[in-house]
């Protein structure tokens, strides 16, 4: 399940950043990816919501880009959403 989420999330990020070579690990943070600013963050959330058919609350969207957050925590939040869907 985690691997599947990772693969799908990476494919969403490649699409949003228009970079087919983009590779992310659990420890990758938003700061380490060029162009992941507040605006791009919303674009990522929209793409993730559409691809995974989930909905994030305002506080969750903000929390996903907080200090200490990374792809691993993004995946955990996503997995939690998918489990309660």
């Amino acid at each position: 399940m985690t691997n599947e989420i990772h693969g799908r999330l990476q494919s969403v990020l490649r699409e949003v950043f228009d970079d087919p070579e983009l590779t992310v690990a659990d420890a990758t943070t938003a700061d380490q990816i060029d162009g992941w600013d507040s605006l791009m963050h919303v674009n990522i959330i929209i793409a993730v919501e559409q691809r995974f058919r989930v909905k994030f609350a305002a506080a969750e969207i903000a929390g996903l880009k907080d200090k200490g957050q990374n792809i691993g925590t993004f995946k955990q939040a996503l997995a939690k959403k998918l489990a309660t869907r």
């Binding site: 507040s38 605006l39 919303v42 959330i45 929209i46 305002a58 506080a59 969207i61």
Partner: protein, 417 residues
């Protein structure tokens, strides 16, 4: 009561000294409420203010209870509209005079910290509606809203962060070093507010008074006079805003740390920002993050979901709407509209510039651009001056600002003024 006043500091330190001597739980919460009531007695201006505050906060709590039971976006939307309308009337906004009878604005209700209460309430209700607040009580919510450390001028603390303190007030500071750092921060904050900020404000007022007298014809305006006084006004007001507000935040964040409450940071060296987007991640951070999370993101998301092709262009509308509202939130007169729109322009220009760089040099080129030390110095210089210019509109007298700008422009362009 000013947080840099001797009364506040002595009261806060005495409170902090006694707080953890009480047993954990209700005893500490009760002492916090006693401090809150005492602070309100000093801050409220009479019974009408107390009545306004009570209605504003209790109605918010009532609607939150309703939303927690049955989340209904219509109820939420209707209440937020009502709340904003009440806010505009209570704060006597200029523009409201064209919509409601003048008598409505002729009221004696002055509610301390209403602007911050409004933003905290919108955040709280949004999070309750979206299931992001696990539990809340009347006393916890009222204490959150009337927290003496954030009531008058923020920072805009999120309810979830306050709740961590309220649920179980425990010491945050692990050792003597951290304790000393908290005291040091309170002392530095006091110096910033009471000395550096006060000197900047005094010099700024002296310069603006001289300019006003010169513009009234009391003495001739020379080129040197015009440029030197304008430079004082240009730099001193932003300096005053920074030292006063960041000093205030140092005091409340330091005091919060002493009583086990984590209050969000509000400043991160804003005047070394390299562009206006960077500036708003460093200046009044709790406000800019609130605007990002509860205004810009939902607005842009709604547009991008419905009109994905137009979203890259329509994002600029979102920037202007967000900064226009941020501007008018700061105050009720037209100069704040100008301030907000200027910042909307600055943020939009930053985004356009970034897109141009990416189109021309690609993301690798943008990275090299961002890493260049020389370009960073130029970018910081330009951003600082744009910010200083925008702060000319932050002062309440728009007519005087325009007069000063005209005087400075004549001094630059012509030898004779």
């Amino acid at each position: 009561m000013s947080v840099a006043s001797a009364q506040f500091l002595v009261a806060a330190l005495l409170f902090a000294a006694g707080f953890f001597r009480l047993p954990a739980g209700n005893w500490r919460r009760h002492l916090f409420v006693v401090a809150l009531v005492a602070f309100l007695c000093f801050s409220l201006s009479g019974l009408p203010g107390l009545a306004g505050l009570t209605v504003f906060i209790l109605s918010g709590y009532g609607v939150a209870r309703w939303l927690a039971k049955s989340p209904n976006p219509m109820v939420f939307g209707g209440y937020v509209v009502l709340m904003i309308a009440a806010f505009l009337v209570l704060k006597k906004y200029d523009a409201v005079r064209y919509i409601v009878p003048a008598a409505w604005l002729d009221h004696p209700i002055a509610v301390a910290g209403l602007s911050y209460i409004l933003f905290r309430q919108i955040h709280f209700l949004t999070d309750v509606l979206q299931g992001q607040v696990a539990r809340f009580t009347l006393m916890g919510y009222v204490s959150y809203q009337l927290n003496p450390l954030t009531l008058l001028s923020g920072p805009i603390q999120r309810f979830q962060d306050f709740e961590k303190f309220w649920a179980d007030p425990q010491p945050l500071l692990g050792d003597l070093h951290q304790l000393l750092c908290a005291f040091q921060r309170i002392m530095i904050g006091t110096i910033k507010v009471a000395f550096i900020g006060a000197v900047c404000l005094g010099q700024f007022e002296s310069a603006t008074n001289e300019i006003t007298r010169a513009m009234l014809g009391e003495f001739p305006i020379t080129r040197w006079f015009a440029l030197s006084r304008f430079a004082e006004v240009l730099y001193l007001y932003p300096a005053y805003v920074y030292f006063n507000f960041s000093g205030y935040c140092d005091i409340v964040i330091g005091t919060g740390a002493l009583i086990g409450m984590k209050i969000p940071e509000n400043f991160d060296r804003p005047y070394v920002s390299r562009n206006m987007i960077d500036f708003w991640t460093r200046q009044h951070m709790s406000l800019s993050f609130w605007i990002r999370d509860y205004l810009f993101t939902p607005l842009y998301k709604a547009i991008a979901e419905r009109l994905p092709r137009q979203a890259p262009s329509l994002v600029f509308v979102c920037y202007f709407v967000a900064f226009f509202l941020a501007g008018v939130w700061h105050g009720s007169s037209m100069n704040f509209v100008a301030f907000g729109l200027l910042h909307g322009l600055g943020v939009s220009a930053t985004k356009i510039w970034e897109r141009l760089l990416i189109r021309r040099y690609g993301r690798t080129g943008l990275r090299s651009y961002m890493e260049s030390r020389q370009l960073r110095i130029v970018a910081v210089f330009v951003t600082l001056h744009f910010v200083c210019f925008s702060f000319l509109f932050f002062t309440p007298d728009l007519e005087r600002t325009i007069g000063m700008l005209g005087m400075a422009a004549r001094a630059v362009l012509f030898k004779q003024i």
